[in-house]
Symmetry: C2
Amino acid sequence: MPVAKLSWATDIPALDRVATATARARQARLTKPAGSLGRLEELAITLAGITGDVIPRVMTPVAIIGAGDHGVTAEGVSAYPSAVTAQMALNFVAGGAAVSVLARQVGARVIVVDFGIATELPADAAILRRKIGFGTRNFANGPAMSYAEAVAAIEAGIGIVNDAIDDGADLIALGEMGIGNTTASSAIVAALLERPPAEVVGRGTGIDDAGLTRKIGAVESGLRVNRPDPHDPLDTLAKVGGFEIAGLVGVILGAARRRCPIVLDGFITTAAALVARRLAPPAAYCLVASHRSVEIGHTIILDALGLTPLLDLQLRLGEGSGALLATKIIVSACALHAEMATFDEAGVSGRLADDAG
Amino acid sequence: MPVAKLSWATDIPALDRVATATARARQARLTKPAGSLGRLEELAITLAGITGDVIPRVMTPVAIIGAGDHGVTAEGVSAYPSAVTAQMALNFVAGGAAVSVLARQVGARVIVVDFGIATELPADAAILRRKIGFGTRNFANGPAMSYAEAVAAIEAGIGIVNDAIDDGADLIALGEMGIGNTTASSAIVAALLERPPAEVVGRGTGIDDAGLTRKIGAVESGLRVNRPDPHDPLDTLAKVGGFEIAGLVGVILGAARRRCPIVLDGFITTAAALVARRLAPPAAYCLVASHRSVEIGHTIILDALGLTPLLDLQLRLGEGSGALLATKIIVSACALHAEMATFDEAGVSGRLADDAG
């Protein structure tokens, strides 16, 4: 199945350059020295370009959190047992996790999606069921999933974000939960960016030195055994990725097609963005990088995507925590752009002529 | 009047080490890998130490914005005319300035204080009147103000913050407005840190190269003519400071005495913090640095104070804009600390033993 034929990898609009230019002109009239709000000005202008609205607002942010398990945990690559994936997904919807607190802070609805948790969840848990499988297979020994499974997860992600946007979402904060998913993300990044695993593998939830060595070894095995094609993002995603990572690729592609800004979280969501951009380059225009993770591979992907994150708070939690924190900043940037008075409106004098001194 | 005899420079409590330790222990039980919330964890622990509350909350943040004019503008040191100080103070209370928008975003009351605007304000403007004078004198030719005026401004600041805390304020975001006040702040910093003016003078609201040369020259004149004593912060403040800067020194000292966290903004508020710490070293414990300003002298003072800012968004507006933006992050850090479930409460498994892999 050639990538170019997949309908969801086409039809993503370009940035609206008229909206961008008009928003930039508006910024110059607001009561502040030109450029003095720095990246907040850029953010509002970027959102104008993404959405096509000269005065974009974020009124209904939605966090989409993909969850899935990873067969590669059998290699001893995580500080936590796989059972934590399901336990934390339940904690997200019960309201006790970091992402739950931060979503309340910014008024975001949280949609938790089971793309591939290894256990059955309680029937009454408020988690969307899009389970492609009970965890991926151990990619150290063979492909994590089939090509068809990867496509199914992507299409599930597209469907979820389409529904969320139909329900009014005007910004998507991405998040994830999956014990072992920094290992899968490292493998994707090493494969697609053709970097040695030791340069992209970090400590994830906080593994010790012996664990780090096992984790690098698992990624090396995955690449050697599966030989993912660095020029075929779907092949790479299927062979060494994860169900929730594939689901997030779909969320990104679906949101970009609808001109909806997507706020990345840390290493895993940014790895998903790398796959999405390889599948559909214009998807990159809709991405906002929230924070710079402590995870070493994160900066490598951000550089590859040409993104500069808003925050650097030494976060390494995932879940969407950084994305929701940055959403607070984005909401403020849009409020400044929309609500500040212009020099004329406020009766404030402009600059002196530059030779006035 | 020896500094040690000034009552407001004493009686500032130390950090509460029991609250700090108890808050740190709570962080370790929350459902996340230890340390994975990075600086958000530190922030909550710091606020516990400042306030003495193991679970600190920010429910009633207040922005205190000091305004004043500067005689040194006669040297051609600013890109904007002095009239903008009063115009912007009115814009703050009318709701059209950046600080007005950001205060609404975080639910903060804004208190704008006239410590020394050069004009009479309209009688009905909702601005606190603590005018020490109609702008300082031009410090390039002689002292900006008298020692008694500096003390009066500090005491006015203490009174204002005491009233705000009596009314329920649990966090003070500092801000300022004063055409010419980056020049005065540069002179304070050059004097107290004994640095050459050219190393600390920046472009303020965006002055051109010729203006920058005039600005450096004005600071050099101010130091040469007035010879402020680098070991006497009040002498320095009076000779080359400003009314609103002195007022902010008072706000900091008053808030610290009441165990109230103080969020600094950019270069000017941080210069005020340097003076406050020289007057009363324990005041430094209550400071949170919000952002790293583009203004070159800001990093020099932050380093001197041992503070690492939360944000780096290329802001250089002042007004309290960075302080209020960072307040959003601080509110979230406290919410995470207060509202996240513990591992026991959520039934989430802890770490594997480190040799489990």
